[in-house]
Each structure stands twice: as C-alpha cells, then as structure tokens.
C-alpha cells in the first residue's frame, strides 16, 4: 500500500520532499562529490589540486600499511559491536519486561548520555580511568584492604600498590567506544523486543523449553531485525571513530579516521585523504549491502 501513495499524490509528495532533497543535494552530495573528484587528483603546490584522473591515491591507500590500519579499525569496531550486543541485549530485555512505571526512567537513563557532548563524556571517562583517577583510587583501596586482612590473619602484606594502566591503551579505546555506542545498540534492540508477542515466550516455556532455549530459539530470532539494525548502527560509527582513539588511545591505537584526519591537516595531502575516506565509505556501503542481501530471501521482514 505504502508504495502507491506517493504515486497517486505527486503534488503533496513533491511539496514535502523537494526541500529536504535539495538540502541533501546541496550540502551533502555536492561536497562529497568534490571530495570524490579530489581522490583522483594530485597536489600541485600547497593549495592547488589538479584533478588528473589518476588512481595513484587509491594505489597508495591500498598499500599494506593502510590496509592493515583498515583491518585493525574493523577488528576494533567489530569487538566493540560484539561487546555492545552482549551488554546491550540484557539491558534491552530488562527495559522490555520491567513494569510500565519504570520503563520511561530506564529509557531516560539510556538516552541521557545523548544529551551530553561526546567530548565531555570522553573526558569524564578519562578522569575516571587515569593513573590518579577514581577507578585506580578504588582499586588501591581494595588492595590495601586486602593487604590489611592478610596481616590480620598473620600473613605477609601485599606488595605496594602500582596504579593499573587503564588509560592510553587499546583497552581504553574499546571501553570508550563501548561506552559511547551502547545506546545505539540498546535502542533498536528495545524497539524490536518491545514489538515481540510475549505469548510466544509463554508458549515456549509452557511447552517445556528452558529459559536459555527460549531465549535462543524464540526471542533472538524474533529480535533479529533489531539485532542487525543495532549491529549496523554501532559498527559503522565505531569503524570511523576518531575522537576516542585520539584522546584515550596509546601509541598503538591509531585508527583509520586518525590517519585520514592527518592527511587533511598535518600532511596537507587532500587527494590521498579523500581516497582513504572513500575507501572507508565503500567499506560501509558493503556492510550495508550485506545487510540488504540478508533480508531478501525472507521477503518482507515484517
């Protein structure tokens, strides 16, 4: 039905869609088009770029150095997505099955971080994780407590406390990305689980399936569209993450977006930066296309 509506009512459709379409064309597609042309260009002087149709930038971008960084970024993003899924699924389940009274508050708790600037959230996390941060202070208190307990029962005390390196390494990057992206995972999962017919779960339990089996055979398959949406919406921004690896990462944490940023700023090599950007965009297209392909055999997802 929905497909026919706009064909029958072209005028109203044109009235509402022209402006957004123009907007997209003018401020999204056109600038991206320039960047796309740049990616086939060559630096001619400090500010000039000759669009010569060369593929050299792509050749360089597919060298092992940059491919390796791409793959590493993909691995980090995949790990982040997996952790978000494992952590987010129970959270979404809890929000779904909690009483009506509590649900808005739990949803608010998930939404709240969205209202805070990403930079501020990242810095807040850095304050917690630092050498003198709250996490290390807490661990130190536990450590000295354990040490005191040992002396109490006549054992040697523990060695002196060394702050745990929680910040400026890959662990911090993954933690930071999970922290930032978790709401992206929880919200689609919640919307999928919310629509789920709860009598199916009751039926499964009545017919003798255990809780785990009901989860894996009934809830997860029915929530699959939400899981896929959550995975995409988490994986793609995590793949292009820039701020978190820059601020929380150590010497080993450079991701592809950091390399791209450097081309546009420090290296002043826009054609190469453009080529890298478009490889990243193509990679994301492939991810989205894979999701599209997966849907087709089942027909209408609904």
């Amino acid at each position: 039905m929905a497909e026919q509506d706009w064909k029958q009512q072209k005028r109203p459709f044109a009235a509402v869609s022209t402006l957004p379409l123009l907007w997209t064309l003018l401020f999204f597609l056109l600038p991206m088009g320039f960047v796309w042309f740049y990616s086939f260009g060559r630096n001619a002087g400090l500010t000039e770029i000759d669009i010569v149709g060369t593929l050299d930038n792509y050749k360089r971008a597919t060298e092992w150095l940059y491919l390796g960084i791409f793959l590493k970024s993909l691995a980090v993003a995949a790990l982040v997505t997996l952790i978000c899924l494992i952590v987010g699924f129970p959270v979404a389940m809890a929000i779904t099955f909690v009483s009506e009274k509590w649900r808005p508050w739990l949803l608010l708790g998930i939404m709240l971080p969205f209202w805070t600037n990403l930079l501020i959230r990242t810095y807040a996390l850095m304050i917690v994780l630092g050498q003198q941060g709250y996490a290390n202070q807490g661990l130190e208190a536990l450590w000295s407590g354990a040490s005191w307990l040992k002396t109490l029962i006549g054992l040697q005390p523990l060695s002196t406390w060394e702050p745990a390196p929680l910040l400026y390494n890959n662990f911090a990057v993954v933690l930071g990305l999970v922290y930032v992206h978790l709401p992206f995972m929880v919200l689609p999962l919640y919307s999928a689980l919310d629509r789920l017919d709860k009598s199916l779960i009751e039926a499964s339990l009545d017919l003798g399936a255990g809780h785990f089996r009901t989860l894996m055979k009934i809830i997860v398959p029915l929530a699959a569209p939400g899981i896929i949406a959550g995975v995409m919406i988490t994986l793609i921004p995590a793949l292009g993450a820039y701020l978190t690896p820059d601020l929380m990462g150590g010497t080993d944490s450079q991701m592809i977006a950091n390399v791209i940023e450097r081309q546009f700023k420090r290296a002043n090599d826009w054609p190469f930066g453009a080529a890298l950007s478009f490889l990243l965009i193509y990679a994301m297209f492939i991810l989205i296309a894979m999701q599209g392909l997966r849907k087709k055999p089942g027909g209408d997802a609904r």
Partner: protein, 369 residues
C-alpha cells in the same frame, strides 16, 4: 591562591583543553565573522569600520587587551580560536574565510608566504616595531620581516616531575632511545617536530634531514614506541600535572605555567640542543580591515599593553621593552628564559615541503608498527 590567579595561571596557548578540557576544538566563540555587517556604517578615521577579525591560539591574549583596544581605537575585536597551525592552514586553503589578523608559527609563515596567503606588513603603521629585540627582526623565516611581526617565541624541551626522576634529564636519549622511564613518557604527535628533534639527538641540524635519516629515525621510533605512554597533541603539561607521565616533550611556555602551580615540575633543554619556534602576527590576503590589523599589532607591541599580554600568557617575549617591565620572577625563570649557552644550540625549523610527506607517512608506520 584565589580563583582569578588560578585562571590566569591556567592560561595556555597550545593545549586544546583547559581544566577539564572542554574549550572546544578550534571553534569560535561569538561567531565572530558576522561582525562586519553589524558595525557597518560607523567609519573610523582610517576609513575602515570598527571591526577586526582576529584568529588566535586559545588563551593567547591579555585579559583586558581586547577591551583596552576597543577603548583606545574604537575597534571591536572578534577573536576566533584555533588549536594548531594545520587547522589555520586548512581554513585558508580555499581562500581567506574573513580574518584580518592571524598568528601562525614561523614555519607556517614561510608556508603561507609560499602559498601566497599573506600580505606585506606596512612598517610605517607599526612604530612600536622598535620595541622588538634586534635578533627577532632579522630572521631566516622572514628576511627583513616583510610579512610577519613576532609575538612570542618558544623552545621545545623536557618537562619533568623532579621527585620521580633519579637526576634531571640532560639528553633526548631518555625520551627517544631508552627504557629507563618505560611507560612514564609522553612525546608530541607532531611528526615534523619529532623527526627534527630525533635529528638533534643524532647530532644533526633540524634542517639537514635526508630521506635516509628518516628511515633511521623511523626505526629508532619503532624501537622506542613500547616505552612511550602517549603521543600527545600538545597537552603534555596536563599529562604531567595529572601524574599520568613523569617526562614530557613540551614547549617551555606550557611547562613554565605548570611550574607556577606545582613546585615539583621543572623544564630542561637537552644537551644536544632543540628546536625554537616563534608565533607571529600576519595579515592574510583578502583582509577587510588591514589598517585596523596594523593598529592592533602596534597596540600589542606597546610596552605597557604588551606587558599585560605577557603577564597573562607568561610566554617568552621578543619584545625588549615589555621584558624590561616584567618582574624578576618572570625574567629569571630558567624555563621561560633558558641559559644562553643552551639556546645557542637550538634552531628554527625551515619549512620543507618535500620532507613533510615523508615524515607523515613514516609516523603513520610508527603508529601502525
């Protein structure tokens, strides 16, 4: 210490972040560029309207300087902030976005001159140029000061926490080629600066690096990488202040500010020598208020007004008249004004368009290694 002194002491041109660190990234406060139209109509004696669009580093201006200038010349200064030269340059690539006065570092003065982005300074409009010490007038990066007027200078060195080190650092070796302070070190993420300082460590001039040296230095960097905690983007003094690291590669001005708050911090220039930098006022091509820009430069170069700037930002000043007015605690601070024999071994880096891509790619390899 009351809040005001704290605020003053916390001033810092290069760090992206102040306090908790939310001073935004090179973004403007006040949407400065709209100023032209608002003030239009009210013409000054010099024929320009009462506006000046200044693009400056964060916390790099006297507390009252802009208001004082408004009182003296009737010009509203709209100041936008940037956090590194690359941002500045990237903004000007597609033409002047509307600024009348900018503050690039010496190698970027060269770079912007060769990209034809700057206009010549009319020295007749800046009589206070006489206050600048002669050694800062005749400089290699701008022979005869045609395009730039010096504002501050800085030198890279090692900021460190005295109580955590066995002895004061005297060589780049501690940072670049040693595991003595494994995991307690932060160095700059600026590829060019890093390669040039490694060249110093290897006994070469910062302007004498060959592609073969880049290979050697890259290998050294990869070898040292496990011992480095962080490649910082010029917020090394924050890492040092918070105890994240004990040794940090930073500019003397940043460390001098921290020393004012923390007695346990000191600054050293390694015996191999280091790299000097200088920030300069420049007037970009396409500036709509060049006369106001000249007037502002002249105003800041004035001894009394310049003193107020230096009191706030605490950077070394090339302005002899300002320095003479400053208290001994500033003049005799060895971090702000390192001994002459140490400075003699330091050099300004020349802009080198051929090597920069090699530096960047090598540094990407170091990060990926």
């Amino acid at each position: 210490m009351d809040l005001k002194t704290l605020l003053q002491a916390g001033g810092d041109r290069r760090s992206l972040l102040k306090g908790m660190g939310v001073a935004a990234i090179g973004l403007s406060f006040g949407g400065g560029l709209a100023g032209c139209s608002q003030e239009a109509g009210k013409k000054l004696a010099n024929g320009e309207d009462g506006t000046l669009n200044l693009y400056n580093w964060d916390d790099y201006m006297g507390e009252t300087t802009l208001a004082d200038f408004k009182g003296a010349a009737g010009v509203d200064v709209k100041m936008d902030l940037f956090d590194n030269n690359d941002t500045l340059f990237a903004k000007f690539r597609a033409g002047n976005p509307g600024y009348d006065l900018i503050v690039p570092t010496n190698d970027f003065v060269e770079r912007m001159v060769s990209a034809d982005m700057l206009q010549k300074i009319d020295k007749a409009q800046i009589p206070n140029l006489k206050n600048i010490a002669p050694e800062f007038i005749d400089v290699d990066y701008d022979k005869g000061r045609q395009y730039s007027v010096p504002y501050t200078w800085l030198v890279l060195g090692i900021g460190y926490r005295k109580s955590k080190l066995a002895s004061p650092p005297d060589s780049w070796k501690l940072l670049f080629d040693s595991d003595q302070y494994k995991g307690r070190i932060a160095v700059l993420s600026e590829a060019g600066d890093m390669f040039r300082l490694y060249a110093k460590y290897l006994g070469k001039s910062v302007n004498d690096i060959t592609p073969a040296d880049v290979k050697i230095i890259e290998a050294l960097m990869i070898k040292q990488k496990p011992h480095i905690a962080k490649f910082h983007s010029d917020d090394g003094q924050d890492l040092l202040a918070k105890g994240e690291v004990d040794l940090v590669l930073e500019y003397n001005g940043d460390i001098a500010q921290l020393m004012a708050e923390d007695d346990d911090i000191a600054f050293a220039i390694p015996k191999e020598g280091s790299q000097l930098n200088s920030d300069n006022f420049c007037i970009p091509k396409g500036a709509k208020h060049p006369k106001n820009a000249h007037a502002f430069i002249n105003f800041v170069l004035d001894a009394q007004h310049g003193k107020k700037v230096t009191e706030t930002i605490l950077y070394p000043t090339p302005n002899a008249a300002v320095k003479a007015l400053m208290p001994d605690s500033y003049k005799n601070n060895p971090a702000t004004y390192p001994p002459a024999d140490q400075l003699a071994k330091c050099e300004y880096a020349k802009f080198n368009p051929d090597l920069q891509p090699l530096f960047e790619e090598a540094f990407t390899r170091v990060g990926a290694a």
